[in-house]
């Protein structure tokens, strides 16, 4: 094996080149060897010396090659003709799109155009797309991070100064108490189970707060089955107990935080009996959780969408930061805050500035001085200063006509955005919808232009995993048909819309060099470093810097270097159950599928094991409605209805039902009410009703 991760071997017959690759699914960033023979991927082998996964792969990783040579791949640019599409040349497509974008810019202004970046694309591609959007004249650039960890980015930036996971995933093995809240990592980030399992065998205590009995709960020492949307109340209750019993870390609070007195005053007003009433969790269990978390030598908090996808998402994250700061559990091995990020490059897409409020390196678009510095690097006198539209706001603006065009790189909002019927209306209302993707997704079906894109194995570039670890994926095979890498398509669009000098991009490598120059945290993240086994972890402020696996060891990333405690009051979810919709619907992932399912629903191995949409309902709620396990049912909310199979299971509590969002239907039901700061929708709470359908 060479340093860049290539070796040739005859492991299974003819000469196959085995090349180190990064799994294209979740944010864990596992590595494997892809076997290349005559421009095709012919095999997958485990990479036991990879530091993230030690060779392991979840079922999705094992199926990663199934989508590559799939018969459904898009091979040619398409243009809408009536209800169908017609094949056109790349020149016709790119020139046609550029002309219409420039027309809309001239007639309605640049803010009438929106751009969706992709957490499945490389850092270089996301950097180029957000740069193009801003040079085009708008901050209407966003991506699915808005739908998953926008609350984390905003909440941790306010409290700790950096919206990212503080410790490497494997560090959980060194924790003495693991507090999991709103994360089903056994299904969504299966590799985390490896390190949690190690910690448990060492005697660590596992507390899981989740309305459902997920496989994480199977291994828990203590399960807090709180009601969806009651997280702030639960966390305030835990902090109340910590202060009452003097379990807070006075030395840490004095030396490293601000705002303690205000937080203490606000917690004094918290009544534990009221917390039990709101959360449904007995006071004794809250006390036990608080004591275990605060007293352990090193405690870690792991969370995901169960925390973030609420209208109180930012409040939830700030509450977690408050808890960690009170107990002094941050900045040490085994002690930290671990938001588990969802996509292979969602951390990177955020780092690159594919967000409507941040330029590259989390420079606020409203910061005139730092914005001017980036403008100078991009050869323009000024960049747009107003915060742009977020993902869900773009769909709303498309509905009202404020947004006239949407350029989508590898996202599928027709499956993944909340209130899908409304999304469809918005997308249909646009003058121009462009979708570049690897398959004709549900969103691409509505497009005016469809551009065939290369997937992970067909292009080079870097990906940043949930640990802030940046790893290089080399190009293994050529794209099928006329498909092109996303960076190449975006660069062409940039040149055709007036920025020839800024988008003279022969390959991804010079783009990474430009990122090194623009983003201080990425300064030393060179291509050579990212090619090494396990890559390099930002912040890496200069060439030769070893990288920074653990954040906040001596100082927080805030301006004053302190962790900011901030009192948070409990607010209920946007939608409450009532007589017509008496159940609470919460949504999430399953282990066998990935997000919009455009890849995993095309895998035979995965689809045969999980075929279609289902709803989990408690035995009590099923009996009340006369429903049987396996029966066809209709789930309805104020926004629409979806038919699926009922799974009667005690894994869900009475009053709560669960649906995965990988299949069409689930997001017809979800609520597009937003967190006021992070603008993340409340996927986790929707009032619903369920009725049986005739057999």
């Amino acid at each position: 094996m060479t340093a860049s991760g290539r070796s040739t071997a005859s492991m299974s017959g003819p000469m196959i080149e085995w090349v180190r690759s990064i799994c294209p699914f979740c944010g864990v960033g596992c590595g494997f060897l892809a076997g290349v023979e005559r421009n095709r991927l012919v095999g997958l082998e485990y990479l036991t010396d990879h530091p993230v996964c030690e060779g392991a792969l979840c079922p999705k990783g094992n199926a990663a090659l199934e989508t590559v040579h799939h018969a459904d791949r898009l091979l040619h640019p398409l243009v809408r003709k009536g209800d169908g599409f017609e094949r056109i040349s790349w020149d016709e497509a790119l020139e046609g799109i550029a002309a219409r974008l420039l027309d809309i810019q001239r007639d309605h202004g640049a803010d009438a155009v929106g751009f969706l970046a992709s957490a499945k694309c490389t850092n270089e591609e996301n950097y180029l797309l957000q740069k193009w959007a801003r040079l085009f004249g708008t901050n209407n650039i966003d991506h699915c991070a808005r739908l998953c960890h926008a609350s984390t980015v905003a909440g941790l930036a306010r409290t700790l100064g950096a919206g990212a996971m503080t410790n490497p995933m494997s560090d959980v093995a060194h924790s003495d108490c693991i507090f999991v809240i709103g994360s089903n990592f056994t299904e969504c980030h299966p590799l985390a189970s490896r390190w949690v399992g190690d910690a448990l065998e060492r005697g660590a205590f596992l507390v899981v707060a989740d309305p459902r009995v997920t496989p994480v709960v199977w291994q828990a020492d203590l399960h807090l089955r709180h009601r969806p949307g009651s997280d702030v109340a639960l966390l305030n209750g835990m902090m109340k107990v910590i202060l009452q019993e003097g379990l807070h870390n006075e030395g840490f609070i004095a030396a490293r935080t601000s705002g303690f007195d205000v937080l203490r005053q606000s917690l004094a007003a918290v009544d534990l009996a009221a917390v039990e009433e709101i959360t449904g969790v007995p006071v004794a269990a809250i006390q036990e959780a608080a004591r275990r978390y605060a007293r352990a030598k090193a405690s870690v908090i792991m969370w995901s969408m169960g925390i973030t996808q609420h209208t109180t998402g930012v409040d939830n994250v700030i509450s977690l930061a408050n808890l960690a700061l009170l107990a002094g559990h941050v900045g040490r091995p085994g002690a930290g805050l671990m938001p588990l990020r969802g996509q292979s490059n969602v951390q990177g897409a955020c780092d690159m500035g594919a967000l409507s409020n941040f330029l590259t390196g989390y420079v606020p678009v409203t910061d005139a001085e730092r914005r001017a510095r980036i403008a100078a690097q991009w050869g323009t006198p000024e960049l747009p200063a107003a915060v742009g539209l977020t993902v869900v706001e773009m769909m709303h603006a498309a509905g009202t006509g404020a947004l006239r065009a949407l350029y989508v790189m590898g996202e599928n909002p027709m499956i993944t955005d909340p209130n899908v019927d409304h999304v469809r209306e918005g997308l249909r209302n646009l003058d121009l919808l462009v979708v570049q993707d690897i398959f004709l997704t549900e969103t691409a079906e509505l497009a005016d232009y469809v551009l065939p894109a290369a997937l992970w194995a067909e292009k080079a570039g870097s990906y940043t995993n949930t640990e802030r670890r940046v790893q290089w994926q080399p190009r293994l095979i050529p794209p099928p048909g006329e498909a092109l890498p996303d960076w190449q398509i975006i660069a062409s669009m940039g040149r055709l819309t007036g920025w020839a000098d800024q988008f003279d991009v022969p390959s991804p490598e010079p783009v990474l060099a430009e990122i090194n120059a623009v983003s201080p945290a990425y300064r030393g993240v060179t291509q050579e470093r990212t090619q090494a086994l396990g890559g390099v972890t930002w912040p890496c402020p200069e060439e030769g810097h070893p990288g920074t696996p653990i954040l906040h060891e001596t100082r927080f990333a805030t301006a004053d270097g302190l962790g900011h405690l901030e009192p948070i009051a409990y607010r209920p979810p946007a939608e409450q159950p009532d007589d017509r919709y008496p159940l609470v619907l919460t949504t999430g992932r399953t282990v066998l599928h990935y997000n919009s399912g455009s890849m995993t629903r095309r895998s035979k191995a995965l689809l045969t094991r999980e075929r279609s949409l289902f709803v989990e309902i408690s035995p009590a709620d099923a009996a009340q409605r006369g429903l049987e396990d396996g029966q066809q049912v209709r789930v309805s909310t104020r926004r629409g209805d979806a038919d699926c199979l009922a799974r009667v299971t005690s894994a869900t509590a009475a009053g709560v039902v669960f649906m995965p969002f990988h299949f069409a239907g689930a997001n017809v039901l979800t609520n597009d009410a937003l967190d006021p700061t992070a603008k993340i929708p409340e996927y986790k709470v929707a009032a619903c009703q369920i009725e049986g359908l005739p057999r």
């Binding site: 492991m11 094992n62 065998e201 009995v213 291994q219 035979k604």
Partner: protein, 170 residues
């Protein structure tokens, strides 16, 4: 003599072993992870028993106890009588889709031939599976929380650790 070790206190029912096995064996998995109670998954596959009723039941010489400890079905000698399927106390042998050939875990014989470990072991995200000499496995198993026993016919075979909550009477 190498044996498999399944530490089921760690199993998360992700079924990566199934998908990996299927990929290594021409689209047919020889392991099926099953929930034996609502919170305890158990992978059902060949235990490679020391006493092997499948081999005894085979009217041909299609089943071999290989020197390394693996029980191997030589599919070319299989006459699809199905007796081994009936004899297996673990339900780990099945006839293939066409009802022709008995199939079960071969401990990735084809991988071990060129020095690679079984796929299920390498792929398991939760690190539930190990493979090695019996004494080494028992030494490891003794350090794990839970109840450890040999789940096989005879004194050796597959060593399994289950969480205490899943073991009746504990």
């Amino acid at each position: 003599m190498n044996v498999l070790y399944l530490n089921l206190t760690r199993c998360i029912y992700c079924r990566a072993c199934e998908v990996a096995c299927e990929r290594e064996h021409d689209g047919i998995s020889r392991v099926a992870v099953t929930l034996v109670d609502p919170r305890q998954p158990v992978p059902v596959s060949c235990r490679h028993c020391e006493k092997h009723p499948c081999l005894e039941a085979c009217p041909e010489t299609a089943i071999e106890a290989a020197p390394g400890g693996a029980i191997i079905i030589h599919t070319r000698k299989c006459i699809s009588c199905g007796l081994c399927v009936i004899a297996c106390p673990f339900g780990a042998i099945e006839l293939d889709a066409g009802g022709k050939i008995a199939e079960k875990c071969d401990l990735c014989e084809h991988r071990q031939r060129d020095g690679r470990l079984p796929a299920c072991l390498l792929t398991c995200p939760a690190r539930c599976i190990e493979y090695g000499p019996l004494d080494d496995i028992l030494a490891v198993a003794r350090t794990k929380p839970g109840a450890t026993f040999v789940a096989a016919m005879g004194e050796t075979g597959t060593v399994v650790t289950l969480p205490d909550r899943s073991v009746p009477g504990v």
